[in-house]
């Protein structure tokens, strides 16, 4: 006969996504979620205290030395089982974090009590989507816009066309790296078919590889890139912005890194700060239950058509609900629209 607390604990098994705000360390998020879950678990009624036999003296006068002491046994709840003495029922919930986001970045973060599923997710070759915001004209020592400026340069000569060309070049180099790290001989038929469908993945350890890169917003000095990558760190992405600036004979800093998709977890289903309570989390876990099972079974994650269809429906709803049309929100919707894991070659306009 399981207790209510044990049943609730069982329901907390699984993965879900969280939207990490900028400036917050991921560990703080993990701790907040863990303490919220613990609060809910410990609010369940504790098991009934054990009864202990206690002998109480029924005496006429004082209970010292009188010869007709009558001891009467009675069953009283033992104070040793009182919750103030035993402590809370649950001390720890092993909440883990998927692919980590550093404090400067924001975005979707896969979190959960997975019992090993998180490791599968991180180890498998899931791709992640990022939105990088850059600014021409400055270079800093760690590629972000808040640290010390090292050099300044002009950027009047930069046009969208030149930017696209540079992006195409970077993408080509990454394609070659992808083919190399996938360790498949491209002269075979199967390898060709996989490459056409866009299902080439790096096997084993690989450096960060961008499988997709395009510019979605160009307004000098500001520009925004959308990136789809494997095995990356956020510092690498900021360095990418810097390198784009270098290739264009100017300098650039990164003013924002935002992850819009972390494997199967998209931004629509990610929980914002107000929803990091136990019931919202349990709902989100139930929502992602199928995905979690798939990850656990396969060990290697592949995006399937069924999931993509459901996510497309959600996007339609969002599109109709947004009242104000704004560039940012449009781009947000566009970002999540590519429904296949294909290399985004064909989408980039004006590729030579």
């Amino acid at each position: 006969m399981t207790t209510q607390a044990a049943r609730l604990f069982r329901r907390m098994d699984g993965l879900f996504a969280v939207y990490k705000p900028q400036g917050v360390h991921w560990k703080l998020i993990r701790d907040t979620i863990e303490s919220n879950l613990l609060k809910e678990l410990n609010s369940c009624p504790p098991p009934a205290p054990q009864l202990a036999v206690k002998f109480q003296l029924l005496s006429s006068g004082e209970n010292n030395g009188s010869k007709d002491l009558i001891l009467s046994p009675s069953m009283l709840p033992s104070l040793a089982d009182h919750p103030l003495v035993t402590g809370p029922q649950f001390h720890k919930v092993h909440v883990g974090v998927g692919h980590r986001l550093d404090a400067f970045s924001s975005g979707v973060l896969g979190v959960g009590k997975g019992n090993g599923v998180l490791e599968h997710l991180c180890g498998s070759h899931v791709t992640r989507d990022y939105t990088l915001e850059g600014e021409f004209g400055r270079a800093t020592n760690d590629f972000s816009h808040t640290t010390r400026v090292i050099e300044k340069s002009t950027y009047d000569h930069v046009t969208q066309d030149k930017l696209e060309r540079v992006l195409a070049m970077i993408q080509g180099a990454n394609q070659k790296a992808l083919i190399m790290y996938s360790q498949m001989d491209l002269r075979t038929q199967e390898a060709y078919e996989l490459a056409v469908k866009g299902l080439l993945y790096p096997h084993g350890k690989s450096p960060p590889i961008l499988t997709g890169l395009r510019c979605i917003h160009f307004n000098p000095p500001h520009f925004t890139l959308e990136v789809r990558c494997v095995n990356e760190t956020q510092k690498y992405l900021r360095k990418l912005i810097h390198e784009v600036g270098l290739e264009l004979r100017t300098s650039a800093v990164c003013s924002g890194v935002r992850r819009t998709r972390d494997g199967p977890f998209k931004a629509e289903n990610a929980l914002t700060r107000q929803h990091w309570t136990a019931d919202c989390i349990i709902q989100a876990i139930a929502h992602f239950r199928k995905t979690t099972r798939k990850i656990r079974k396969s060990g290697m994650y592949r995006q399937t058509a069924g999931q993509l269809n459901s996510s497309a429906k959600v996007q339609e709803q969002i599109r109709s609900q947004i009242g104000q049309s704004d560039q940012i929100s449009q781009e947000h919707v566009e970002l999540t629209s590519p429904t296949s894991d294909r290399i985004v070659d064909g989408v980039t306009p004006g590729t030579g």
């Binding site: 939207y19 705000p21 900028q22 400036g23 917050v24 202990a52 036999v53 206690k54 002998f55 010292n64 030395g65 010869k67 002491l69 001891l71 033992s78 104070l79 040793a80 009182h82 103030l84 003495v85 035993t86 402590g87 809370p88 924001s106 935002r258 931004a267 990610a270 914002t272 700060r273 107000q274 969002i318 609900q321 947004i322 009242g323 704004d326 940012i328 929100s329 947000h332």
Partner: protein
Amino acid sequence: MHLCRRCVSVLLSRPLLSAALQPSTHTLHQRSHHILLQHSRVQPPVHSLTQRHSRETWTPCGRRNLTDHQAASPDVYNNKTDLAEREVEKHIVPFENLNVHQISNQESLSDIVVRPSPLQEISEEEAVQIQVPSALPPDSFTLKPYVDKSETLSKLVQLGVNLWELERRPNVGSMLVRLDFHADVAPKLLFLKDLGVEESKLGKLLTKNPFILTESLDNLEARVSYLKAKKFSQQSVAVMVSKAPYLLNFSVERLDNRLGFFQQQLGLSAEKTRNVVTRLPKLLCGSLEPIKENLKVCELEFGFRGNEIQHIVTAVPKVLVANKRKLTQIFDFVHNTMDVPHSLIAKFPQVLNAKFLRIKERHLFLEYLGRAQYQPSQPNYISLDRLVFLPDDMFCSDVALATLEDFERFQKTL
């Protein structure tokens, strides 16, 4: 008849006695073996004669945890562990004097032959006088074995003191177990009740500060009379003690020093200082260095004038003990990014107490909607306290004139 080995008298003895003696773990171990052997041989007399002692005596060999720091007491044990050389000393203590339990020594094998038969009948007086040691472990990791037996601990649990939290603090568990209820604990509890602390708050107070029970009553009374001499009302003293449980553990000089500092540094009148201290009695407990730093930061880094600082501190005393880095971050955002002048911030100091992320997200949302207007002279003015204090749904509907879903969607684009 022979009695058992060591009996644990921790609960019922006075602190000075500390009659529970701790042999080394090694000795414990061997002793327990001997005891088990004894039991297996000699059981009946102790248990059959006196019904009340229905439990087996057991001696675990745990590591010492709660009884590490004992007062030095004469070691009544002789620590000879050789089986053949144990001495016996029958030590019969009348059951009436529960206060003093002596530790009995072991028996020697030679006495077994002389012992009377266990089925021999004895008189009622002798039966009553048999003292059976309680089955309490001499040391343990938790207070659980002692709670049912100890009057102090059971009364504390009934008051609402969180023993589980207290036993995790080093040495607090042993201290609580050694307290005598009628001599130590009860007078202090009555004193606190007389002071005006509510019964429901007593449990939390003692959980935060169990050392109020070891402070002497004279000191406590002296400090309360000092505070009353400084014209704190009875009720405000009670409120201060429940908000800052460690307050009465500080000496009169220290309290005096602190009160003087606040009155002098902040330049407030006595009445206002009293008000500030009553609302945040933590000010009197902590160290003064961080407060001095915060004041300097407000004056030099932020650029507030003296009277503005006074106003901020009287409105939101927490600014004095806030984290310097977080305070700077909030002020930087509000003043430089939101372009709010000093005078407005001084008028609404609650904004310095709010969470930075909240201010940031709400401001960016308003800016995105084009409603970020913080100048009182302009139309569509949004005051800083409404920006910060309203809950999310009210903020969205009243201030931003948008829906909560829009706000959440916007949050996901930041």
